[in-house]
Symmetry: C2
Subunit: 154 residues, 2 copies
DNA sequence: CTTTTTAGTTAAGCGGGCTTAACTTTATAT
DNA sequence: ATATAAAGTTAAGCCCGCTTAACTAAAAAG
């Protein structure tokens, strides 16, 4: 018997754990590679959501397009991303990760994920099955929630 | 039948989802309350780990004690934290949240947790039971891993 | 009791992110 | 065809976080 208040407590606690872990690893990796957090965030966005234009960046991070343009500039100068004209509308600049940029992001992700594997190694077969099932349920619920939220803003 | 590679994938995906959610909400709330991310991070640390001294802050965020002192200064000026001499060693300054600071942090946490409850509301009774069980397993494993890691550095 | 170490503060200066404002270029509307 | 709007860029200037370096005060070591 699990009521929703109890589950909420458990989920929140887990979320805190993950968030703390991730945030520390994330900003640490940004620093270690000589990048600022905003710069690295842009790489992450490009990795997870694919190419986008300048206004896509300024929207997502809630900064002016001027700021986005300047940040992109620095990343281009470091060879981590590329700017290209959009074929249909020459005003918009399509921003994509270079191979160097991809490698950097993937390396950072890999490092942060080491903790996940460490965690898994502590579970027995039965626990693994249970965890896998539960997380699939949660991820699916999150996906649905996200889809509905996007529909409302659109 | 769940092998560890598959579980790793699922866990990573879920971790990504949580991290993205949290990070956005977190920096958004910092901005909305007129604080910088580093400043808010300090409040979070005080909330989750209790009072600490200046070197505790500089260690955790990997900044010099000068930087920590300056950040603390701004938070004190805004009435969010308090500095007090340690009774046993008058060199060290004990930093604690004021009521105003507590309220600010708790409000931020509450907002970020709204998503969790939204998620739970999408689950039926059976799913809730499964999720609760799995997360308890994971949180416990994480706690153990953390404990071991601390033992090694100590 | 001096010397050294530890905790923290203060000030100067650098670099980064961000904004506003002025501008260029391309697309859309009338 | 002209006016207007939209996407980016550039430059000036502000604030902030951070570091180094010089300093104060308190504790520990000798």
């Amino acid at each position: 018997m699990t009521d929703s208040a109890q589950l909420s407590r458990i989920l929140r606690k887990w979320m805190d754990t993950v968030t703390h872990r991730s945030m520390r690893g994330w900003s640490h990796h940004a620093k270690a590679t000589g990048m600022s957090v905003p710069q690295f965030s842009i790489l992450m966005q490009l990795h997870y959501r694919g190419a986008c234009d300048i206004s896509g960046i300024s929207d997502r991070f809630e900064i002016t397009s001027a700021a986005a343009s300047q940040l992109v500039d620095k990343l281009v100068q470091n060879g981590l991303i590329e700017r290209a004209e959009h074929p249909d509308d020459r005003r918009v600049k399509q921003v994509t990760l270079t191979n160097k940029g991809k490698r950097l992001v993937e390396h950072g992700i890999e490092q942060r994920y080491r903790w996940v594997d460490e965690l898994i190694s502590r579970l027995n077969a039965e626990q693994r099955t249970k965890v896998a099932e539960a997380l699939t349920i949660l991820t699916e619920a999150a996906r649905e929630a996200e889809a509905e939220a996007e529909k409302q803003t659109a």
